[in-house]
Symmetry: C2
Subunit: 366 residues, 2 copies
């Protein structure tokens, strides 16, 4: 992956905003711009930040633990090591690079860190400007290479699903199935699960973010599996709901309703469509079916280097869809006591409508 | 686990600071104070926050995905659901609870979130006070129940290590071993790995935070394994370094040096000792052995609900050790090209010296 064109585009944006430089603290943005793949241990323990001047060579600042990896991976970057944290190093570098106005990622930096940066900036006479979504605004449109990687991630995820699905039988626990999924992901070459795998039986599936437990599967139980993996940096995310055994009429009816909602939303996805209108297309089907109050979350979200990113297909988002955006379409209904049904595919917005990236149809069409 | 005494202690601290209430956004603090175990998907996607008034019933604010779990787990809490994010709900609750001065966790909240909170606070005439480490200051001292859980976590981690260690043979890859470790953790009941397991052979071990790759193990290779798990919320963290086959003299000498550094530091751990002096005790041994420049990280860190927490055994920390603190002791030397040796145990500071929580001695005493 060459990151040079992305860097050029970012530097143009930096200049347009009147900044002399930009500090990248968000790890997916860091990877997107530099190719440096290190993971952070949460926001409190970064494995490095990028300092992008408005013109010229970009810098990657990291500590001794990651210095070898940074030098190998971040092609075109000058790698600098800090010993006492990022801020003292910035205090040296900013004047040396004549950066008098520095933008920073307000949406991915701790408030306490900014308080300390402000003190440092006062000492060297540098202005700090909170900026949001400068790099995210680029990442929201996937290029051809990124779509290729996402497609591979989706297909590997489905392969894992089908392998594990074929082994599910009564007596297995939610936890066992989740573990088998995450193990198979790794065995087939995924970097890691994109999020904690959800396997929920019966009533537990009434929680959209259920945690797999020790409950054993009974014949006739509803099974909801929501899983995703990271391959080559890119995420996938898929949900299927099915019955262990023969589905009853109630289940079949409800599943068909959710499926119709998904199809209605997918049909509404095209360049120029407003996110909340796509959400509404699904929500209306579910409301008309009599389950309006039981679809408590947004219809979908963008997927790329992050498993949850822009755009959001939510009732409040006025963003317009554009070619190259990749989103999930995942309506659901949740009935406390009974269970939940969610169906989730990923689609890429094309020049006209959209393309469904998933091929697996398990349980979609009863 | 009863959280009532912790809550009382926190409310006393809130009152002493002149605050009417305190907003808890840090997920480990949230679990510590409420028993609510949900995990966040990074700082950008919280599964809830605590609003602790200076007196009276504490509140847990969350969204529809987690509402059932929150009600079940957070005993003594009033659970409130938000639909449009935390801030609009706070705008209603703060005046209703007569909270006119609200403290917030500056060290675990995004800068952009604080900008939005400040707007809201201006509308309702509420003051916002950045606070750091109010709850962390309580968590740094572990009570008897917590030490019991940490001990179980350490012993389970060792059990996993020994099971996998006994299967290691030439031809296996770093990745395979790391995968076997994480699988065994789950099989034996761990919630999850506490961090990405490090398995590094030979030259790859020169990176303190090496990522397991596809390299195959050769007889005579150095193997460094750094692993930890979460059991009942509490973390463990251990590193062992050994040779696949018969160790050469150079390795044995270097390992003995690191081991002596570890022993010197452990002997220096007692109530009243200054963290940087403990770090220095290890660093001096390594410098005297001629490897002074090659121990690039701090000696250790606190462990509890978080795998990295206070206190830090670093060259700069002037904090005093106190009974009930739990820290790692992990000196290391790293030689680019050759490899690295790190040995890591966990200890709990007692009334006099300290107790080593580890029992495993694999490769420690050659």
């Amino acid at each position: 992956m060459t990151t040079a064109p992305r860097l050029e585009a970012l530097q143009a944006r930096i200049r347009r905003r009147g900044l002399d430089g930009f500090l990248v603290t968000q790890p997916d943005n860091r990877r997107y711009l530099s190719g440096y793949t290190a993971c952070d241990h949460g926001i409190e323990e970064t494995s490095g930040v990028l300092l992008i001047p408005a013109r010229g060579t970009p810098l990657l600042l990291t500590d001794s633990r990651f210095i070898l990896q940074a030098r190998e991976e971040a092609a075109g970057y000058r790698v600098e090591q800090y010993r006492r944290g990022v801020i003292p190093l910035l205090e040296k570098l900013l004047p040396a690079l004549s950066i008098r106005v520095l933008g920073f990622e307000s949406h991915y930096i701790l408030h306490a860190t900014v308080l300390r940066m402000e003190k440092m900036a006062r000492r060297i006479g540098c202005g700090l400007v909170p900026v949001t979504d400068l790099v995210e605004g680029m990442r929201i449109i996937k290029d051809r290479e990124e779509i290729g990687r996402i497609r591979k991630s989706v297909l590997l995820n489905e392969q894992v699903f089908r392998l594990v699905h074929s082994t599910i039988e009564p007596g297995m626990t939610e936890r066992e199935i989740a573990l088998a999924i995450e193990l198979t992901m790794r065995e087939l070459g995924a970097e890691r699960p994109a999020f904690d795998t959800i396997v929920a039986f019966a009533g537990n599936a009434a929680r959209p973010h259920a945690v797999p437990g020790e409950r054993e599967l009974n014949t006739g139980d509803l099974v909801l599996i929501d899983m995703g993996l990271v391959l080559d940096g890119y995420c996938s995310d898929m949900t299927r709901t099915f019955i262990a055994g023969r589905p009853e009429k109630t289940f079949t009816e409800r599943l068909r309703l959710v499926r119709r909602a998904q199809q209605a939303a997918t049909a509404a996805i095209r360049p120029g469509a407003i996110c909340r209108d796509v959400d509404r297309a699904a929500r209306r089907v579910i409301a008309d079916g009599g389950y309006g109050d039981l679809f408590g979350h947004a219809l979908g979200h963008g997927v790329g280097l992050a498993v949850h990113e822009e755009p959001r297909l939510s009732p409040r988002s006025r963003k317009k869809l554009r070619p190259g955006m990749v989103v999930t379409v995942e309506p659901g209904i949740y009935l406390p006591g009974w269970g939940g049904i969610r169906l989730e595919n990923m689609v890429v917005v094309g020049e006209e409508g959209c393309e469904i990236l998933n091929e697996d149809t398990t349980g979609l069409d009863l």
